[in-house]
Symmetry: C2
Subunit: 384 residues, 2 copies
Amino acid sequence: MSQEKLLLIPGPTPVHPRIIHSLSLPTISHVSPDFVAEFKEALANLKKVVFTAEGQPFIIAGAGTLAMEIALLNTVSPEDRVLVLSQGYFGQRMKEILASFDLQGDIIQSPLGRAVTPEEMENKLAENNYAVVVSTHVDTATGACAPIRSYVEICKEYGTLFILDGVCATGGIEERLDDWGIDVVLTAAQKCFGVPPGLAILVFSPRAMVKRKNMAKIPAYYSDILRWLPVMKDPSKYFSTPCVNEIRAFNEGLRLVIEEGLPERFRRHAQTARAIRAALTTMGLSLFTQEAFLADTLSVILYPPEIKDKEFRQLLAENGVIVAGGLGELQGQVFRLGHMGNLSSSQVIFALEAIEKTLLALGYKLEKGRAIERAEQILSEKIH
Amino acid sequence: MSQEKLLLIPGPTPVHPRIIHSLSLPTISHVSPDFVAEFKEALANLKKVVFTAEGQPFIIAGAGTLAMEIALLNTVSPEDRVLVLSQGYFGQRMKEILASFDLQGDIIQSPLGRAVTPEEMENKLAENNYAVVVSTHVDTATGACAPIRSYVEICKEYGTLFILDGVCATGGIEERLDDWGIDVVLTAAQKCFGVPPGLAILVFSPRAMVKRKNMAKIPAYYSDILRWLPVMKDPSKYFSTPCVNEIRAFNEGLRLVIEEGLPERFRRHAQTARAIRAALTTMGLSLFTQEAFLADTLSVILYPPEIKDKEFRQLLAENGVIVAGGLGELQGQVFRLGHMGNLSSSQVIFALEAIEKTLLALGYKLEKGRAIERAEQILSEKIH
């Protein structure tokens, strides 16, 4: 039935059987030694994923939007000015969150399909005194991947805190908190970790923690990291009941990441992305995102004129693969194919075959099998 | 192993196999027709649990504390004054949440083990112009059950909104939103619904919705119900990714409630409570909570002088049953036994046998088997 279809939207992503198994273990007490050990391990593993020794992880029941709110409220005071670099949909959301709490934010909106350039950002930093810069790593709507390392280098010069929305990136694309100088990474369980949705995930740098501690009062209770901090330091303490099953599932997801090895995981994501794109272009399709900004986790593909969004996605679903439609102004023009998390090569090939079959059924002309061959070739290249 | 122990803390509560099964189904798209249907059904079932035709349900990824915050922020404006009726731990938390957002709140703190009387509340309402009254139904720390119907009657006279924290009650003890005139009921998945933790659950009365809509701006983004409202009206809309697996599990929990029948479920909770207390007092133990304020969902039991908290709970756990220790100033003096959700008679008897065995092993004097007999007798009485 539909539950067995391959879910290739930009999150939730396919959930590995080991993760589902962890989710379905009996619910135990949130203060039992077994659960405390599991929570501790999840926090330690999360630090490994963003390469931090001293950063402070937070795992909190909620959605990615809550993680965005937590990142902003705990680093931005009323006198601060925030610069939001927006590649599309979620940059706008950052601006909305700031506005909801009467915090001051300016936004640089890049043309859709590319990211704000480091130069554009630097010009803005030179103009105004910004305390915090926020950027999405990979925009869910446009598939644009931002040049994070360049942003962070410039932020360092200006002494600006840097918040990274890693929602379609963390655990799939390299993000080094300590080395690069990122101050907050935020994400959600259902993206590159391939865990069912329900967790807001954050890691704060020591500098960001100091900033929070120096802010006397913030307009938050549940979103105040100082209320969660004792629990994150020692999960046997109580603030608010942690979601036992989901946290164990998340830890299992983190174990899969660690077992694969982070460099290997990032290389696998890059290789998968190359294979998928080579196949799609071999089919004659075009990518919406500009080449310099392509992400390893997500592709946004333009429809050829003869293919209609609704028909395509419906028939593709009947052929076993779920992809997402365009968000916002891209609705109807593109489909979005997530390729992040624990996707296997055979799942990639299955998806490409389904896309080919669907296009052919809708009267689109292509040479059957050529695209798949191209993808198989790339996927079989040894990565090292 | 420890995961097979019977979890009788005041939440999480034991999770029925049907609920665990729902939780472990493959994660599907949050906008797929299958999930949209499931989410709709959960919202409709939730309305049935609190007996409302016109109330607006909300199911949001988060903990019970988030539900408390959502209830307050969406009904209390800066010019409003809130009266918090506190039976113990969570009334204090309501006050803290108000203070975090610079909202004005007064608190009536009852002596531990009983609830604020309707007279005490009315005196306070006569003194000041309160816009909102908040009360916990059953306090997790003290086991005190508050006289909600009497509170609401008085609030009606004063035109005051009434927020009910149903965390250890909703779905186990009667709460009638429409008939009684409650304005917000809030709870969490892991209490009387017996679903793993991870969801903040609320139902707003039409009057509470009007109040929110008349408040121009509130200090909230994720906690702003107006951002969630379109999704709750039509779950195919997007605001923030709903936690697919947890919501399906919650719906399965709601189905179990509806199948049992609400009056039958409330009667079962009352009968279970009677049986447990009769057994415990037969063992010679005393209840901490005053008799008039005993809750059908939770018992707080005083330790006899010769029994030490840590030893008792540890040995009881070895005998297969997990109970909670005292919270706050009751730590060491009491243990807390949750008896809410989908607990069966045989689980109740198993727990009582384990308590008896543990007490005997710790040198406490009691006549073996008498308490169990008493409980079995009460549990076998036909309820109608």
